[in-house]
């Protein structure tokens, strides 16, 4: 009796255990199924490492470069760029500019369609621009439309009648844009994602969900086929695009680490690494000699900000001394190592009509003299100051090197490093809660303006507490000067104030764009100053369209 009871209890326990294990297995089998990742890797004509996972693909919301590249494969503005980076007609077939440079009349390409076959007309642009400017959209780049008459007022919610904004549609295929002042780079802006049209019926129907595959309707060379978070994005040629697209399928891999990216390229699993942040910096000196390494100068500058309200940086001599004492060659040769040119000015070379002033070069003797004049001979008595930087990428190495260089040349021992996480760093920088800050700026378009208007008194991205009435005045004058040479001369004089006379910033080096690809496997990718490579231009060599 006792024995059989024990056996029964035991068998019940065994049954229970088996049941539990089976349950677990079923659970996992379910997840295996839902995971849906077991389909073999999708083949594509080109695989691109595009950097991180995109935050969004809504062209009005996008702010990052990597998202911008994807958006410009999916959408197209009035103008677009060729492989060389030059502006060419996009959705607009042609345009005329009034002699005063204020009115642009765009003639849309007849017969263009959205990826779902709907006709695309001038109203799509008008309504999309309204959406971008509308405060409810909260577009961080809506200021790209502030060049339009009343654009800023509408964007700030001070004007609610959009018909007063400088964009009109006399007929289906004509768009007339009126600007507040002549803007030499306006045709560059119309090629940028912020000014691309979106298919409003889709946006209305799906809300924030409209950027998902199967829902998104686009007008660029590609349409969105698949988008799996942190996994891959698949783009397919848009059959309704106005010209044939050479590559039918492009696969985009979001990769957050540069080593993984490079491994993929090295093992032949990806054809193109498009972003310099996806190339391991420590490998760059070796990779430079490889045939698949491609570098090009592009419009970005790394520089140091002074907080000119805090001692001792309220004294221009101290700022000049620090600028003169910084051995920038040392930084580009030891730290960044990608062949970056040393910068003495803020505006990177690349705009043919602009000549930069002669900035402050490396001159430690002069620096020591200035510092002594300011009351800190050999760095004696120099107050404790902090150097803010973002502790990602090369941030820490850069800051440490800068600290060491100033100690070496000027004997300053009281600069303390203050590394912060990216978002915290941005916050601190915007609050101007620092003494010195390692910063950078990448231009939105190829014009000195995008760098120089940053330092207008009280400007949103000034972040130095510096202001100069003459500088502000000159900026205003330059904006209403239609003559290119004259305008560039004013900008030249402004930059002189910025980097020679007043020095609220110390430029360090100009950016270099880097990419990895085998030239015999990818065509239509050319180094260009704006670092803008339209994917619709890509083709396989030997099958040149």
């Amino acid at each position: 009796m006792a024995f059989s009871g024990m056996a029964k209890r035991r068998s019940r326990r065994i049954l229970f255990t088996i049941g539990l294990i089976t349950g677990l297995l079923v659970l996992f089998a379910g997840f295996f199924y839902f995971c849906g990742g077991w389909a073999l890797s999708t083949p594509a004509d080109l695989t691109i490492c595009n950097g991180d996972e995109p935050q969004t693909l809504d062209p009005a919301i996008v702010t990052g470069q990597l998202e911008g590249r994807l958006c410009l494969a999916l959408f197209e503005g009035l103008t677009t760029r060729n492989a060389k980076g030059d502006i060419i007609p996009g959705m607009a077939e042609s345009w005329t500019i009034s002699p005063d440079g204020l009115t642009y009349t765009f003639h849309l390409r007849p017969g263009t369609k959205w990826s779902n076959g709907d006709p695309l007309n001038a109203y799509d642009f008008l309504n999309s621009w309204e959406r971008t400017l509308n405060p409810a959209t909260a577009s961080q780049y809506s200021y790209q439309l502030y060049y339009l008459v009343n654009g800023e007022a509408y964007g700030m919610g001070k004007l609610t009648d959009f018909s007063q904004v400088g964009v009109k549609t006399p007929d289906d295929h004509t768009l007339v844009v009126t600007l507040t002042h002549p803007t030499a780079y306006f045709l560059e802006l119309t090629s940028f994602q912020t000014l691309c049209p979106v298919h409003l019926p889709t946006v209305k129907k799906y809300g924030t969900d409209w950027t998902k595959p199967g829902k998104m309707v686009s007008n660029g060379p590609y349409l969105l086929k698949t988008w799996r978070l942190n996994d891959y994005i698949l783009l397919e040629a848009n059959p309704y695009y106005w010209r044939p697209v050479p590559l039918p399928r492009i696969k985009v891999l979001p990769t957050s680490t540069s080593t993984a990216c490079f491994n993929l390229f090295y093992s032949g699993k990806t054809d193109l690494i498009i972003d310099k942040s996806s190339i391991p910096p420590e490998l760059v000196p070796d990779l430079k000699n490889e045939p698949y390494f491609h570098a090009n100068p592009f419009g970005g500058t790394s520089f140091i900000r002074f907080n000119v309200k805090r001692k001792p940086f309220d004294d221009v001599r101290v700022r000049q001394a620090l600028a003169l004492a910084l051995d920038k060659k040392d930084i580009v040769e030891k730290i960044t190592r990608a062949g970056e040119p040393v910068a003495t000015t803020l505006v990177p070379p690349g705009n043919a009509s602009y000549t930069a002033p002669q900035g402050l070069g490396y001159n430690p003797d002069e620096a020591r003299k200035l510092l002594a004049e300011a009351g800190y001979p050999n760095g004696r008595g120099f107050p404790d100051v902090n150097l803010l930087y973002a502790g990602r990428g090369m941030g820490t190495q850069m800051a440490t090197e800068i600290q060491a260089l100033w100690r070496r040349e000027l004997g300053i021992n009281s600069i303390h490093l203050r590394g912060q996480e990216w978002k915290v760093y941005l916050n601190t920088q915007q609050l101007i809660d620092f003494d010195l800050c390692v910063s950078a700026w990448v231009g939105d378009y190829n014009d000195p303006q995008t760098f120089l208007d940053m330092f207008v008194t009280g400007g949103g991205n000034n972040d130095t507490n510096w202001g100069n009435a003459r500088y502000d005045e000159m900026l205003k004058t330059s904006e209403s000067t239609p003559d290119v040479a004259q305008r560039m001369q004013i900008l030249h004089d402004m930059e002189k104030i910025l980097v020679v006379d007043e020095v609220p910033i110390v430029p360090i080096y100009f950016y270099v764009g880097m990419s990895l690809y085998h030239s015999d496997k990818l065509g239509g990718y050319e180094p260009n100053f704006v670092d803008d490579h339209r994917w619709g231009e890509f083709y396989l060599p030997g099958k040149k369209p």
Binding site: T63, R228, L229, Y232, S267
Partner: protein, 305 residues
């Protein structure tokens, strides 16, 4: 027993509530803003953004708004991936981590128990020593060192396995091995220690005295008792391994949930951070409960209270 399980599940509710509250308040009171970029955002647009995400007004208001949504099962929208809800992100990434995690867990259990048991039988012989040395290495070599080494060997030099990505069965092998090694090492050490202890006990001597074969002593009697400490360890370990690992997922490009544990906090994404914390807490609570039930099933001396 059902009543006890129910009670335990009910107890989990206040725990979850406190965890979510703390997470949300910590993320929102840290210096930094989820929307900040290199370019300053005009105040009007920032206000609009915060309104869209219910992140405006007092902290109390924001918290109440969020808690209201959570109670309805809506974990809100990610401030980082702006077209995706947190629910959607979890639904897409958690299964991936669970597939990888369960494979790794399975490997860890099989290899850990086998080698641990073997080491105990070969106590103080070279087999024992080499296994324990390997286990020590497995525990002390961090995965961000081990993973690149394995990638270099198997992917770049031998070209046997893919270095990166997700989607085909061969892509699961390297990450699963890397993920399982520290767990396998711990399990091996636990099994060895516990089995050695059990083998000294009186009932084993009795079993041997009865004339049972060494295999029968080991598998029918010793191992069953020796496995007990393992249950206590494997509950929380399962919660950890199934919810992914930032290191492994980043290095191997696995689209799992593990990276969000760190990245969402770095991005000051309050909803995503709270979301993954909820997921992890639920897993931890469930697997601890599960381990307790297993204890109860395996060891009759244990009472569930």
């Amino acid at each position: 027993m059902t009543a006890i399980i129910l009670r335990r599940l009910l107890q989990a509710i206040p725990v979850l509530f406190i965890v979510v509250t703390l997470t949300f308040l910590l993320v929102r009171s840290a210096p930094g803003n989820p929307f900040s970029t290199e370019k300053k955002i005009p105040a009007e647009i920032m206000e609009q953004l915060e309104k869209q995400y219910d992140l405006h007004g007092s902290l109390r208001h924001q918290y109440l708004q969020y808690m209201g949504k959570v109670l309805h099962g809506d974990l809100s929208i990610s401030t980082q991936y702006r077209n995706r809800t947190v629910n959607e992100i979890i639904a897409q990434t958690l299964p991936v981590s669970m597939v990888l995690g369960s494979s790794a867990y399975f490997l860890a259990l099989v290899f850990g128990v086998t080698f641990g048991g073997w080491a105990a039988i070969r106590h103080n012989q070279w087999g024992d020593r080499s296994i324990m040395l390997t286990a020590l290495l497995g525990l002390s070599i961090p995965s961000f060192v081990l993973a690149p080494m394995l990638v270099m060997l198997f992917a770049l030099k031998l070209n046997l396995l893919p270095a990166y990505g997700w989607g085909s069965p061969d892509q699961i092998i390297l990450p699963a091995i890397c993920l399982s090694i520290p767990f396998a090492a711990t399990i091996a050490r636990l099994t060895r220690g516990s089995l050695l202890e059990v083998l000294q006990l009186d009932f084993i001597r009795t079993a041997r005295a009865k004339g049972l074969s060494e295999d029968a002593v080991l598998f029918r009697h010793a191992l069953k008792v020796a496995i007990l400490p393992l249950i206590g360890y494997s509950g929380p370990a399962a919660a950890g391994i199934l919810t992914g690992s930032i290191v492994i997922e980043t290095l191997f490009g696995i689209p799992g949930i593990g990276q969000f544990f760190v990245n969402s906090a770095l991005n000051f994404d309050p909803f995503m951070t709270s979301g993954v914390v909820i997921v992890f807490s639920v897993f931890l609570i469930l697997f601890n409960l599960f381990a307790d039930i297993l204890y109860f099933v395996v060891d009759r001396r244990v009472k569930l209270e």
